[in-house]
Symmetry: C2
Subunit: 220 residues, 2 copies
DNA sequence: ACCTTGTTTTTGATTACTCAAAATACAAGT
DNA sequence: ACTTGTATTTTGAGTAATCAAAAACAAGGT
């Protein structure tokens, strides 16, 4: 069985591969796992010896099919647990990540399938991230744009928040831009690129480009 | 923070103290934790140095107030998790122990209080074992007898199963003697001590003394 | 007093994970 | 080609948890 540490390495590698495909540099793992570079090198070697990763010296790592399957399983646990914590235990969506970070290693497959069933087999988590099914397949994503690129005056719905730092989630919470929120882009300031949007209650918010780029929307 | 291993040692020590008060011999921990004697000696030394246990050389260990508080917390997590798995996730009461054994170390206090709330702050787990409250106090237990000692012809209710081995739980499951079941003792065979009991549906079961001694009942 | 038996402790190793700090490789930039 | 800066690897060391096997101890029984 893979230890919690190994599971965290696998998940971090998968997330990086999904965000920027190609080889995952050692530094990305250093960053994601909060350890020093030497630690990553030695863990990666051990995991490569176990057949979970391929290690290109001085370049980085790639998941093997076995490693990927395990990583997807951990990601599924993480996201289903987050969904469970929000929907069943009524926890705040902006505080569930850390809890899930620990529980993803302790929840058995048996318990996980019970949770999935209880929740009606959800396909996205509270942050809008896709939940792979029990076989490891991600549902085909609907057409979605980041908020800074989408058309004016269309009825839209927030589907996903890409930046999941504590501060950004708090900001999103506060402005009411949570996944599920209805939104319409009123206009774009030509010079700055600042967006003016209308929220459900008629309230209006102005968003800088760097913020809008981290919010994904789809047709309402 | 106490590691999972340390939490397991603390919980095992607490359970032994509750069952047979006085000092807990090293051998009891060897047995409970499934490790060799030398391992227990060195773990116990480390935990004593941390102020979690008192170690009387060649005698055994006792929980310190700090160690006891931690142990009670772990036990509370274990039993609330078991209750949650049975009541909310509809898992079989005879298979939840192993799941709880892992989850008790991963569930945070915050999550635990949500679970307790969701369940209406239960005071006993699926096996009938008491769940301490958030301050670490066990509810005063109602008058209860082991089945081999109680009066004839009284309407009784099973409240607790002491032997929680897989086989015994399966037996209890099969005969329908689960906590909550109504039962009446019809007669006791003078020589052998074998009990004849009537269950809810009118079915009758014969129980040997060794079995009856592990089933606790209270007034129905 | 001596021996036997069961329990506990010691000793010496091993595995997994980690850090600090020094060494190395590589990609540019001049 | 040489220098510089950054990423990666190596080396040496430490902690937590474990085992195997030998040693020490505590009681009792003879
Ligand atoms: Mn994690
Ligand atoms: Mn998420
Ligand atoms: Mn446990
Ligand atoms: Mn229980």
């Amino acid at each position: 069985m893979a230890s919690s540490t190994v599971e965290n390495y696998l998940k971090a590698t998968l997330l990086h591969e999904q965000k920027a495909d190609g080889i995952v540099p050692m530094g990305a793992l250093v960053e994601a796992l909060g350890v020093v570079p030497g630690t990553v090198t030695s863990m990666v070697k051990a995991m490569a010896a176990q057949g979970l990763l391929e290690h290109e010296a001085r370049q980085g790592v790639r998941l093997t099919p076995i490693g990927r399957a395990l990583a997807v399983g951990v990601l599924r646990k993480h996201r289903l647990v987050e969904t469970f914590l929000v929907r069943t235990l009524k926890m705040d969506w902006s505080e569930v990540h850390d809890e899930a970070e620990a529980l993803e290693h302790a929840v058995s497959d048996r318990v996980l399938e019970r949770i999935s069933e209880l929740l009606g087999h959800p396909t996205t988590d509270p942050h809008g991230d896709p939940i792979p099914d029990a076989e490891g397949n991600f549902a085909a994503t609907k057409t979605q744009d980041s908020l800074d690129l989408c058309a004016l005056d269309q009825p839209l719905r927030v589907t996903r928040i890409l930046d999941q730092t504590q501060e950004f989630l708090a900001y999103v919470q506060e402005t009411g831009l949570k996944p599920g929120a209805k939104i319409r882009v009123l206009r774009r300031e030509p010079a700055s690129g600042v967006l003016h949007c209308e929220l459900a209650g008629g309230t209006e918010v102005a968003l800088g480009l760097h913020i809008a780029g981290k919010i994904i929307v789809g047709a309402a």
